[in-house]
Point group: C2
Chain length 977, copies 2
Amino acid sequence: MEFTISQEILKNVTASNSSASMSGALFYREEEAFSGVNKIARKVMHDVELVFGYAPQAAADRSQLGKNAILYGTVGHSPMLLELEKKQLIDLSEIRGKREVFLFQVIDRPFEGVEKALVIAGSDKRGTIYGLFHLSERLGVSPLVDWANVKPQRKASFNLAADLKYISKEPSVRFRGFFINDEWPAFGNWTMKNFGGFNGEMYEHVFELLLRLKGNYLWPAMWSARFYNDGPGLANAELADEYGVVMGASHHEPCLRYGEEYKYLRGKDSIYGDAWNFITNREGITKFWEDGLKRSGKYESVITVGMRGEADTAIMGNEATLADNIQLLREVLQTQNRLIQEQVHPNLSEVPRMLALYKEVEPFFYGDQTTPGLINSEELADVILMLCDDNHGNLRTLPTEEMRSHRGGYGMYYHFDYHGGPISYEWINSSYLPKIWEQMTMAYDFGVRDLWIVNVGDISTQEFPLSYFLELAYDFEQWGTQAINKTDLYTKQWIQRQFAGVFHEDEMEKVFELLTGYTRIAHKRRPEHMNSNVYHPVNYKETDHLLNQIDHLLNLANELVGTVDEADLPVYYALVYYPAVGNLNLQKMWLLTGKNHYKAKLGEMEANKLAEQIRECMNRDRELVNQFHTIDHGRWYGMGLSEHIGFTQWNEDEAQNPILMHVLPANKPRLLVTVDGTTQRSEGSSWHINQLVMNDFLQPDVEEASFTISSISDLPAEYKITCNHPWLTCSSMGGSLNGKEKTMEVIHVKMDRSAIKGETEGHIVIEMPIGTCTIMVNVSNHDFSELPNMTFIETNGYISIEAEHYALNKEAVKENGEASRFEVIHGYGKTLSAVKAFPTTEYFTAGEDAPYLEYHFRVQEGGAYEVELYMQPSNPVTNEGTLLCGIQVNEEEINVVNTLPEGYRVDDGNWAAGVLDHIRRHSTGIRCREGLNTLRIFAVSPGFVLEKLVIYPVGKKPADSYLGPAETYYVGREGKL
Amino acid sequence: MEFTISQEILKNVTASNSSASMSGALFYREEEAFSGVNKIARKVMHDVELVFGYAPQAAADRSQLGKNAILYGTVGHSPMLLELEKKQLIDLSEIRGKREVFLFQVIDRPFEGVEKALVIAGSDKRGTIYGLFHLSERLGVSPLVDWANVKPQRKASFNLAADLKYISKEPSVRFRGFFINDEWPAFGNWTMKNFGGFNGEMYEHVFELLLRLKGNYLWPAMWSARFYNDGPGLANAELADEYGVVMGASHHEPCLRYGEEYKYLRGKDSIYGDAWNFITNREGITKFWEDGLKRSGKYESVITVGMRGEADTAIMGNEATLADNIQLLREVLQTQNRLIQEQVHPNLSEVPRMLALYKEVEPFFYGDQTTPGLINSEELADVILMLCDDNHGNLRTLPTEEMRSHRGGYGMYYHFDYHGGPISYEWINSSYLPKIWEQMTMAYDFGVRDLWIVNVGDISTQEFPLSYFLELAYDFEQWGTQAINKTDLYTKQWIQRQFAGVFHEDEMEKVFELLTGYTRIAHKRRPEHMNSNVYHPVNYKETDHLLNQIDHLLNLANELVGTVDEADLPVYYALVYYPAVGNLNLQKMWLLTGKNHYKAKLGEMEANKLAEQIRECMNRDRELVNQFHTIDHGRWYGMGLSEHIGFTQWNEDEAQNPILMHVLPANKPRLLVTVDGTTQRSEGSSWHINQLVMNDFLQPDVEEASFTISSISDLPAEYKITCNHPWLTCSSMGGSLNGKEKTMEVIHVKMDRSAIKGETEGHIVIEMPIGTCTIMVNVSNHDFSELPNMTFIETNGYISIEAEHYALNKEAVKENGEASRFEVIHGYGKTLSAVKAFPTTEYFTAGEDAPYLEYHFRVQEGGAYEVELYMQPSNPVTNEGTLLCGIQVNEEEINVVNTLPEGYRVDDGNWAAGVLDHIRRHSTGIRCREGLNTLRIFAVSPGFVLEKLVIYPVGKKPADSYLGPAETYYVGREGKL
């Protein structure tokens, strides 16, 4: 017989419950249990009610339990568990002493009258809590049930096998959590309206969200809020402690004191003095820290140690020596350690502490050749050393091999949201799972396993990547380095979790396309970082292609609105529609603006239509935020308030909306021919350019291209197209535009490859009011079938290669049998994918132990070429300041190049361009011979992630674009139209 | 008793004329007179009718003459004149043998029954014609009476003193005329509609215009037209010859053949061959020339000699040596001279001939050190050597002193209209009389006195500068070099001539302001050369100042429309309103566009209002052209058709109308403070710029400045201004904008200088929705009365000096007593005037025989400075390629600098910038000492015309602008508000 919960059972209990003496309760509540655990059990009971439609009951009296009962408890805090162990119904030794582990087992007849019981036994408080929420998960309840009002699918009954026994794993990362940051205007307005402050009523929901997502660690809002005062009083801290939520604070908030507190407490007559200065006000600062620990040391926390100056500066002035600074910081640490021993625990190794290795502290940690730093010092023994990304999702320094033995371990502070330079991004989610996977697995592999914290800004719309981040931290075995290319799988599971019963399978497929689609577009460029000059308005048609993708996704999003039930709309809106459509609409607006400006400068009447479309996007943006603020009875009010359009500074000050350009019609009929995908244009005037070139058909598999005729005036203007080649057809041979409702016509040109051998040239003649323009159509139709597959063919001056289209992926095997090789990370590129060498921690020697990729290509002329690599904007993983790879052409020597600009450092201009563009480009000179060539790319430094390679003769760089030239032909490519 | 014409007399004649036997005729018509002279007399009779309202009569029978008669004739073609001479009533020896001279004398009783006669006796045909038109002029008839339908003021009677005797001068320049060029679309459409072709019916009016303006020489339309075929047949040539109009042709049309003719006649079977090549088709070309001379040699012409390749190329290819080319050109000239002797006149010195020294021919003319050129060769004896300007009104090479002895003399081809690079200007007049005066007097002084021809494009709207040009050529004594600063006087006379009786004196003053005003603005920048990036939209408020000037002039123009009679409106419209308003409206449109773009980029809601104003200007432009095409029954139809907006190429192809930029309002109340005249701005954000500077009051005579508050959103937004200085007041202390009807507010700041001594600083604090902005108001109020007058005081980092504000103008006197000195040419500057050394032909040695100007200025710190000279974009007058002046600071050595860029040549980029900008700037390093300094500018090369000097510390160039920084304070300057 299985363990069963069903509507039937619950209904009867509820019915009988109207009588005074209860019977048939589902949950057994022990007095000895942690109060927080009992509170969580009540949340799970509510989940059960949501699933079955009937509320279960809890009883402390075993006689009131039903035939199926749920027995939960924590090792060391549960006589009941000991009793079951004694009866040999369970074996607690499997979890005892473990960290955050639970046993989840079905047993028979634990007590009189109970036939089947589900035992949820935690190794510790959080173990039990995770075990309880594990039941909710099995019931199909989303971790977002409370936070986002995600309703589970209704069930009639639910069974667990009679022999079910499941023991959870210890979480992969010790402290796992998120940071509510820069809470105004969004989170602040939201909590003021819904809860009246940054208080326990609000944190109740945040803690629940954290715990359901299997996190255990939180940095609370601290921009304006004071966690230890806003509860009101200590209510926030007490609640956290009750739930087992470990509180932390960012890098400049030592000894359980948040940044804002000193501002409130300092003053001329303050016992804490009036200077954040450990030299001039050592006594006051020490007292400030001491009182912080006295007040909050009793709660479970990771205590920040160290110190830095106000407003992100170093502690001492510029004139201080390195040794002075190190000595001062050592004294700070000694003081803090002493205070912690006095106020929290005499054994420091029992107290989780954290020092942030931010740039102000880094030099004092490492020291230099003559001055030893604090690295390996006894003051830092057992202290978690927290590293960080560059605020834009790219890790900075990681522990070197020798550093990894540090007993306190390492932490990582990561960002999904950021208020700072070069440009903030705080509106809606723009993080992309493959990026999180690539970066955070590298962190883990480098030994960063004690603390993962992610800045989620206002939380809202970050639920999707946040779920993933915490899942990865909890279960690295399942989702980590070995789980390459499983972010899609995760996404599908996540969608299932939120929308089972809401959408059909095919609709969930659309949700999947939408979530991956919008985040992938945001991964090309975050919405806050968009402007009209990012994508090229015409080259390679990159703007039009992206607009098409966006329109496709917007259509999907809207289709789903049409199918979803009204009751489910708010959840769909909040978790999918709003972040996706908000993002896409904004991207679209800027793309249209780029086109509008480009066309306006050419005088095209079409520009005026585009201007109206931009205006619609702007209205849509405001409408979306307003909708978000009103759905579900204003549940999300405030969460859309972050500025997100047209940053001209690092923050939203002086943000500029798109400028709409309108053209005034020319005073006589004028038309313009443009060759699509290029900047070529002509009005046909014999004095100026009246001969254009169409090179699309130089690519052996291209059979369709286009040009456009546009109105320059609002007067009727005729055009006539002549094309006398049997192998070349135009979709129109003439017509008329009027610059009003009819402002442009795209003429599709098709060629019949079967009619051509080798190279030829066709002519398309377009007669227009001002004159006649001729498009020379160049065609190449050689037979490359003799060449090996994956050979790229230069037909039009350059070759563009997606990194995954190598001809050979050469593994390297060490003497100890360890293999290393490049792997393709699907979807992790601006135009296709990326390749990265694994293990990620290795430094290789090109030509010796390095894996490599080999590319084959053919050029028409030998000589000096450039190869331009398109890479993720990774930072070097240590302080060496280089990010190397090896490049070898044919039999020539391997050239080990630093793909970073000379003197590169995080925060400089090159870095800023990289994090905004989400790409780094690096060019190297190579020599090619006429005909076939081989190019090898060797792994050297960790962090090298390659997306694309572009090869062109020196001085003949392909036309500008944001995404780089579209991939060119290779043997074996499927023909495309 | 005076000679009298009166309505009374004419009325009676007319009345009696109804009877068969006429009596009382006013004009005596001799059979022996030139037919053309008699035709001109009929035109003058028509003038008389216009003046008195009654038509006079002409009689060949002396008995039919009235008591007052007009007797006209040409020496050698008038028995009547001989008869009068015999009677000793006139003395023909005073005019006999002279060129184009007439005697205009009142005599008594020449014949029986005639009591008083006006004798008009010409030394030759044109002398008589000018004499006849002289009567019209005396009657108050405008030379434009026929061309532009300018009606004379009605008179009751007209008297000439009984003893009147006037002998005209020989015209200063031998051949004086204009060139109808690039006749499509304007002139072409006009003549097709009005006359059906480029025929005699049309040329009748052109010849009359030329002769009334005292010209004698014409280059006919030849872009598409063929003068010798279109008459129809030779009618055009015959009519010209009859009227004494000397026909000419441009530089590449030798032997009375126009450029289009060869195109029509060439061909495989043509007797002229099929190649414009004197090497491969010598026979055909020679025959072509011979037949041209045979056909047209009988008419009075200046025959073009020489040859160049087709489409403005050299005759021979690049591989030919200089000697080859010279030899070929010599053979061309020998052939042409021989043909002219055979077909026109055996004595070549009797045949006016012209060779254009255009750039293709120049090297062959001058030769080099080893190869003598054609200069001084016998083939060119008596040939007029025609020089030219740079197509934009700046002379190129002029005859050196030794060249001036060339017997054939020199000609000048000048432009009021041009179809070519860098940008064409063909729409409406944009020439400025002081420029014409400065350049053409220099030409005359350099010996260019035999031929002046000006390209007037379509003629229409060029009547004003054309009148001046021909007047200057006719009477250099009155209007030439000695008549400095008399262009205003000329303008007033010209207005009087067209509008006596139409406007009152004060209205004519407005017309004067309008004509000088619009041409002066066009002299800053021609309308076709305007775009939105010319003037700086805010710096020094140059855009706003110019907009104010334009609006003032537009108001004047429109006021006058209100006062003029309907009958007189067409003439006012055609001669004044249309060119003035067309020009001004266009300039305004571009200035508004510059502001629109600037403000749109700052997000100012005001931008949207500006966009509407631009649209109005565009509509106005089209409306103006349409009105011009319909007034006076379509008299000017076609003349407005030239493209004139937004050239992006040298010609009108791909011209772009202004782009209107619209802003979308910000989503929260935002205001922007800008300090007027600067690019400083702030929204008050504490993260970004929130402190601005107002430096206007650093100039000791400035007592008012301003800043502007602008809406960035369309939401109500309040501002509050605090200013707690008794000496500083703001025109408003607060208010609200809403971004709709109220988009901006200019706050005027006044200071009370009497309350301040020395230097101080005030603060104006502006509270706005985003934050608070502080304007630091810097004040300097030192007493400079101890310093000498005309001392410029540096108070704000630079000094800007109008060239005429020198402290000393130092004349130089040669041993022979000849004085040279700088003269101020009023109005001949972008911001005030210009200075130029006279005599213009002199080269001076600075420090020896050179006149100089001395400027005094005071700087706050000694050190390295730059002095930037603003000059007319003159070309060097000879081939030396330099344009020198001397610069001396204090006691240091004189630095003779070349104000031209290294390697400067006409047609290069620097030249192009100069002719578009109408300015050339040149900077020189100087050393200044703290306190008072003296700067001397010495004349060196001819053509140096200085407008402005700007002095600033090295590396601290004042803010960008088109006109340069506004003049800064000097001791003695009148206070300005």
